[in-house]
Symmetry: C2
Subunit: 285 residues, 2 copies
């Protein structure tokens, strides 16, 4: 339980932004290269170079677009990680509050062991521990699901980029094969270029295959939807009755979990759980 | 035949450098993210998050390495394009020289039609035209072969990156599947994490499959090796005898080419061609 937990993730999210910017920049520069290749080819005055480089420019430009879409998917994934970071930030005060009251009790017990304030503080501590217990469960739930969701998104994005660029690479190769690079002797007339139709066909086939592409992987689906309070819908009704909550977490048992995971259809009376919902946590949902 | 031909390619090569820098930067930032993910996971205090994020960091780091190797391959391809640019630069003066002499003759014919200098200039023009004819053939040969080589390299690099990252993506998915994200209720003890062994197995399998990877595509091979003078080995012996060269290119026929492409084994006496090799072109080889 490190105080700098949300800082760690804050940093990761920031660095990830750098990754995304780099891909956006790669895509943009690649688009420029595609255009420049086409222009250069035209100016060589070599009909075959001109046609092939123009069409290769089209395929390179498509690859740049795939790269840009990849950057967008990484950005969506980054947004998902922010949910974890926000929850981490909101859980922190509940940890500090617990520690603060515990310290106050210890201080008072040493200074004035008979003070009536001790009992008040101990009641406060039970409430603070209950609040923190809810917050920790919310954090666990959001962290596991959002981590999985964020990186499943990245994995799917990598697969999409790879599959689409492999299609484009295959047709680029077919296009380059149409360029006759048998060396010529000085003064000899170059054989006429007659692959224009075949080259056009390559582009049409590439577009068509790319258009047919569909994701082979399912997007991430959470095993059980979290309620807006970040707890499983099933557990909400029983939070109040949970013995460990009533004891401020001193008596942790597996019972609550067992119960919680059995009856997933029971989403009754969420009001009880809501009374425990600390304000700080609502900002995270 | 544009004077700014080599400038066009110069620009493309420069932009391509921007593409490469972007990928290098993406790889570097991705390495940082991988490390930060592992550190963050450890600090969550959640055993399953800690283990999965640590191992996911390893796979993300491998992906970053693949990305960095991709950048290196793009750099090799960029170096190949420089051959074309250098040859373009060296061909340009032979074009200008031809134009200059042609202009001088026209000027003199107008100013002093009986000047003996005209005949000298016309002999000079024949030599300049022959020089240019050789240079243009060299440029055609280098341009076609190097363009093909450069982009075949890129295409193979894209395929390598895609295939390797697909392997890593597949195992990343398998790793994420080991993270139980069933929501927990407050105060309930989390079920013990017992996927450490399985997660380790994922990394081992990923390394193994990545290690087995081999390119499915052949690297580019020129159809016929160019000599260091950038002409086909077959044509060198016949450059002097080529009628169109002797006429300074005024009488272009397809004969030289036909001859040149038939007997690829004949690589005799290159000296004749070398006598035509302009100094400017040697810098390009």
């Amino acid at each position: 339980m490190q105080p700098n937990l949300s800082k760690r993730l804050y940093k990761l999210i920031k660095t990830q932004n750098g990754v995304i910017s780099a891909y956006e920049s790669a895509a943009k520069e690649q688009q420029n290269v595609a255009g420049q290749l086409s222009l250069w080819g035209e100016e060589t005055g070599d009909e075959s170079i001109s046609d092939i480089s123009d069409k290769l420019g089209v395929l390179l430009s498509e690859m740049a677009e795939v790269e840009d879409n990849y950057a967008s998917s990484l950005e969506s994934s980054r947004q998902v990680l922010k949910h974890i970071r926000n929850t981490e930030s909101s859980v922190h005060p509940t940890r500090e509050n617990k520690t603060k009251i515990t310290d106050q009790i210890a201080h008072l017990k040493h200074k004035d062991p008979t003070s009536v304030k001790i009992m008040t503080l101990e009641q406060e501590l039970v409430r603070a521990e209950a609040e923190n217990l809810v917050a920790e469960a919310q954090l666990t739930n959001i962290t596991r699901q959002k981590l999985k969701e964020a990186y499943m998104q990245q994995v799917n994005a990598i697969i999409e980029r790879s599959e689409k660029q492999q299609i484009l690479a295959k047709y680029s190769r077919r296009l380059l094969d149409l360029l006759d690079d048998t060396p010529v002797v000085p003064g000899a007339e170059k054989p006429a270029y007659d692959n224009e139709r075949a080259a056009k066909e390559v582009l049409i086939d590439a577009e068509e295959e790319l258009g047919r592409w569909e994701p082979s992987q399912e997007p991430y689906a959470a095993p059980s939807r979290l309620e807006s309070n970040l707890l499983p819908s099933v557990g909400n009704g029983s939070v109040m009755e949970n013995e460990s909550i009533q004891n401020g977490g001193h008596n942790l048992s597996g019972d609550g979990d067992e119960r919680g995971r059995k009856s997933e259809t029971n989403a009754s009376s969420r009001s009880a759980a809501h009374s425990y919902d600390p304000k700080v946590l609502e900002t995270a949902s």
